[in-house]
């Protein structure tokens, strides 16, 4: 793209330069980093000394800039690099993703009202909140919403099935529990199951974890699901309106199969699930004990899938994939799970009373539990299934339950919290010990002979290999043995049809989950080996995505699956705040251990609504936008587009105008004034906002408590003419804007006393001296004296310690209920870094250097690069517009001179 002029910065100087040049017929590209042009001027109340409305002057300029046929406007964009090439400039432009399609957005603000994330509003200088989805201010040009989504929140990135934890947490925080449920359903249909039994990898990544501890994300989901199911015993939707003619068979109704069925049915496929057991749910129904996952939850979760028209054929074992295909299915998802138990291969394993954990748990869940009353039970293994089995045995009346694990506690794969709960209930753990044979009487197990172990070198799993200690055998009495040493995939019927891995799992393409038989996809434990519910669901979701593409005849390799932004780092999130106050996590509540073992009641107690809201309010909003998708739901124009990506491109221009403006002096750098600590010490930009028609409050109020102030002080020269902060020069505008604000305050609050503490009043421009005198005549008090420090009283009033120069130089203290720090202007020199090969020189105070200030005020150290406005030094609005005029004239002369030379 070729332009005549590139203008960097869309404040009043940039707009004025662009308009002048556009009117002269030059093609101008105006690049502004904010979502709107207008700079700081549009945020002012009025201008001095005329007291004309700043918006009324700015908005026509903004509209003209945006509509000018010769001006191309790029907002939310930055010039990253400028270099000279063949006598012209080439600039690299970075256009940020704003996640809203500007062509569709009507500026209706519905997204803002619906958004669940509140952040400080920088366009009101932090006096009030804005939303993550926002239009910067009412007069914004373009008046289009943008969404501040800085990256994927770690909780979302950690979820194997991509559940937007941050999103539903922010919905829960706002009390929108139904919508939270709906949001989870976008990514996973077994909401209740996950709330009860997910291992919650999200919590492990939660940024709050590096403060007091992570959010209880799973418990919040449990609350959302329980509440939803209580209010909606049945799903309130049916099959999709548009159905496809293709059919998909799913083998296995565990979490992987059910999830795939759900997503495929939502796309309109006719889905049949084949389940070998009598009930659907796989391990959820048959392996997980109901004290961890009540079966009513699994049953209600499954309705989320069957409501879409998915047929689940139970007690139907599939033994041939080709046969299934011949029945008219266009694709198959194999998710048969891992139902075959590994054996130890030791003597006595076949004795009565020695049982595999999976058979044992299945029997219990089918209501055919053996009585273990008064018996001694040995569980062999260290995984979650072993712990579950031991805890079930206790509930069946066992008098003693021992777990033998051949490694130490450190290597145990079971979760720490499960081990702890089992210990509380009375399960005895014997580490570094394993059975070598079982001995029986009349075919029934009676003793176990175990051996002690020591740990050797790490094996291929990375865990230290257990080595039996010779001569350490011991024999103990045992009535019942549960072997929980591992499960194998149920793939033996299919080994002739699809390629398997040496361990019996199905070999798949890791991205697409397609097997060696193209119409067969596989996922869940049958691919990964025994894994976690949410991982299996993630594979089900992934498989559904690629099965859909396969059935559309698309090439799977070329298609993307996830579309996430990079994860936001902990450091970035924590650095957004100076301090984090303590918000302790709530202690997880459980039934007392002696109560728990009496029956199969749920061990964990639910959270109350208040506890959920408190816990959700601990969220740090890592990605800023939470991905709650409320904006998508309410946008009438369908303009929200989270797939938007930043764009980088290059443009060519003959000349460049730098007009990036100034920075406001950060008043925190004068700690003696208490800015940032005392709510009623504000800066002058904040006072201008309080006075502006688009102000943050209903009128001028003090921020500490909403009182209409009665006694307001201005402290001039805050951060200017001050060597201690490295800014020795006068900022040229503070005297006059303070007098302007004082006059406006006298109009807005006729009863208020206004005092201006000053060093000198600099009223050098046309009408300025009169403006100053007018303020004094109106009753504004002018006190010559530098304020030394400010203290806050309990009622929020402020004590100003100052030297009263005109009355003998005595130290005095005055009380005010609002203090305005008239902050100075600082340079904004980062623009100089984008120029490569040539140096854009700065002056000794880091403003852009005007190399020929007297004769060519817009010229910089780079030929063809010109400066306009406060980029070159502090100035008021009339002077800014003058310099923009000068810059445009110099640009035009430069271009014409160059063209003439050819």
């Amino acid at each position: 793209m070729k332009y005549d002029v590139l203008v960097i910065g869309g404040g009043i100087a940039g707009m004025e330069s662009a308009l002048n040049l556009g009117d002269m017929g030059y093609k101008v590209l105006l690049v502004e980093k904010e979502p709107s042009i207008g700079g700081k001027m549009i945020l002012l109340s009025k201008v001095f000394p005329t007291l004309d409305c700043a918006s009324c002057i700015s908005t026509p300029k903004m509209a003209a800039t945006s509509h000018h046929p010769n001006i191309t406007l790029l907002t939310s964009s930055e010039v990253r690099e400028v270099r000279r090439e063949n006598g012209k400039f080439r600039a690299k432009i970075h256009r940020k993703a704003v996640f809203v399609d500007p062509a569709k957005c009507t500026g209706c603000q519905e997204c803002e009202f619906a958004c669940t994330v509140a952040v400080p509003d920088e366009y009101n200088f932090g006096l009030v909140a804005r939303r993550a989805a926002f239009i910067p201010f009412p007069q914004a040009v373009p008046k289009k919403a943008v969404i501040e989504w800085v990256g994927t929140s770690p909780c979302i990135a950690a979820c194997p099935t991509g559940i937007k934890a941050h999103g539903y947490i922010s919905l829960a925080r706002a009390g929108r529990f139904e919508k939270a449920f709906d949001l989870i359903m976008e990514d996973a249909p077994l909401v209740g199951t996950l709330g009860k039994a997910c291992y919650a990898p999200c919590e492990g990544e939660c940024t709050r974890g590096s403060l007091e501890g992570p959010l209880p994300i799973r418990k919040i989901k449990e609350f959302i699901a329980e509440r939803y199911y209580e209010q909606h015993p049945e799903p309130e939707y049916g099959p999709p309106e548009e159905l496809k003619d293709k059919r998909v068979a799913i083998i296995g109704s565990g979490p992987a199969g059910l999830t795939a069925a759900y997503f495929l049915a939502r796309k309109g496929y006719k889905v049949t699930v084949f389940e070998a057991h009598k009930k659907p749910g796989g391990m959820l129904t048959y392996a997980l004990p109901s004290f961890r996952l009540p079966k009513r939850i699994v049953e209600r979760d499954i309705k989320n899938i069957t409501a879409l028209g998915v047929e689940i054929k139970t007690a139907t074992k599939i033994t041939s994939l080709r046969e299934l295909k011949n029945q008219g299915f266009d694709a198959i998802f194999l998710a048969a799970g891992t139902w075959e138990a590994r054996r130890m291969g030791i003597e006595g394993e076949d004795l009565e009373g020695v049982e595999d954990s999976i058979d044992f748990l299945k029997r219990v869940n089918e209501g055919k539990a053996p009585s273990l009353k008064g018996k001694t039970v040995l569980v062999v293994g260290g995984g979650n299934v072993a712990i579950d089995s031991a805890r079930v045995a206790l509930r069946l009346g066992a008098s003693k339950v021992v777990i033998q694990y051949r490694r130490s506690e450190k290597e145990m794969p079971a979760f720490q919290w499960e081990v702890q709960e089992a210990e509380e209930e009375g399960v005895e753990f014997q580490y570094l010990k394993a059975p070598v044979r079982f001995l029986g009487e009349e075919g029934r197990v009676k003793w176990v002979e175990s051996v002690r172990m020591r740990l050797g070198e790490p094996d291929e799993s990375g865990r230290r290999r257990p080595i039996p200690i010779e001569g350490s055998q011991e024999k103990t009495r045992v009535d019942f043995v549960i072997l929980a040493i591992g499960l194998k995939p149920s793939t033996s019927p299919f080994k002739e049809e699809v390629e398997l891995n040496p361990n019996g799992t199905v070999k798949v393409n890791e991205k697409t989950l397609q097997t060696s038989l193209p119409y067969v996809f596989a996922g869940g434990d049958v691919v990964s080996g025994p894994s976690m519910i949410v991982s299996a669901m993630g594979q089900g979701k992934r498989a559904a995505h690629f099965i859909d593409l396969f059935l559309q005849g698309k090439s799977l390799e070329e298609e993307e699956y996830e579309n996430l932004l990079p994860v936001v780092s902990r450091e970035e999130v924590l650095s957004r705040q100076l301090t984090h106050s303590e918000k302790r996590p709530l202690k997880k509540r459980t039934l007392p251990p002696n109560e728990r073992v009496k029956d199969f009641r749920e061990v964990e107690l639910p959270m109350s609504l208040e506890e959920v809201v408190y816990s959700a309010s601990r969220c740090l909003d890592c990605g800023v936008c939470s991905q709650c998708h409320e904006c998508i739901r309410v946008c009438p124009a369908d303009a929200i587009d989270f797939s938007q990506k930043p764009v980088e491109f290059e443009v060519e221009a003959e000349a460049v105008v730098v007009s990036q403006g100034f920075k406001l002096f950060p008043a925190e750098r004068k700690p003696q004034y208490g800015f940032g600590r005392f709510p009623n010490v504000i800066n002058a930009m904040q006072m201008d906002r309080l006075l502006a028609p688009t102000r943050p409050y209903n009128t001028v109020l003090r921020p500490s408590d909403g009182k209409v102030p009665e006694n307001i002080a201005f402290v001039l020269c805050t951060g200017s003419r001050d060597r201690t902060v490295g800014n020795p020069i006068c900022s040229q505008v503070c005297c006059m804007y303070s007098i302007k604000q004082a006059q406006l305050l006298m109009g807005a609050l006729p009863l208020a006393d206004i005092t201006i503490y000053y060093m000198d009043i600099r009223a050098f421009g046309k009408g300025y001296e009169e403006f100053f005198k007018q303020a004094a005549d109106m009753g504004v008090q002018f006190v010559k004296g530098r304020v030394a420090k400010i203290e806050e009283k309990k009622d929020g009033n402020l004590l100003l310690y100052y030297e009263d120069i005109e009355n003998g130089g005595v130290k005095k203290v005055a009380e005010h209920d609002l203090v305005v720090l008239s902050v100075g202007l600082l340079p904004n020199p980062s623009v100089s870094k984008i120029f490569k090969d040539e140096t854009l020189e700065l002056d000794s105070l880091y403003w852009i250097k005007q190399v020929e200030e007297d004769v060519s005020p817009a010229s910089t150290s780079i030929e063809g690069v010109f400066v306009a406005g406060t980029a070159a030094g502090p100035k008021d609005i009339p002077d800014t517009i003058l310099t923009a005029g000068a810059a445009s004239a110099e640009v035009a002369a430069y271009i014409e001179r160059k063209r003439r030379k050819g």
Binding site: A174, G175, Y697, N698, G706
Partner: protein, 77 residues
């Protein structure tokens, strides 16, 4: 005072409680703050954002101490 960003983040969690208090009738920022047992400066952030997003509005009335009263604004949920 807590970090501003942290106070502002709490608005979503505080909205329902503030609306519940205002159901009793118009109240000033310090009155709401007292009921919530939270600092007035924090409640100011929450109530002014609620005003900005049309959940509450000021009444004509100002107390002798110089505080406006705010009430629930009908129309937007």
């Amino acid at each position: 005072m807590r970090d501003k960003r942290e106070i502002i983040r709490d608005e979503m969690a505080m909205r329902a409680r503030i609306l519940e208090i205002l159901k009793e009738g118009p109240k000033t920022v310090p009155e709401v703050a007292e009921r919530l047992s939270r600092p007035t400066a924090e409640v100011m952030f929450w109530m002014m954002a609620m005003r900005k997003y049309s959940l509450i509005e000021e009444t004509e009335e100002m107390t002798d101490e110089g505080y406006y009263k705010y009430r629930i604004k009908e129309g937007r949920k």
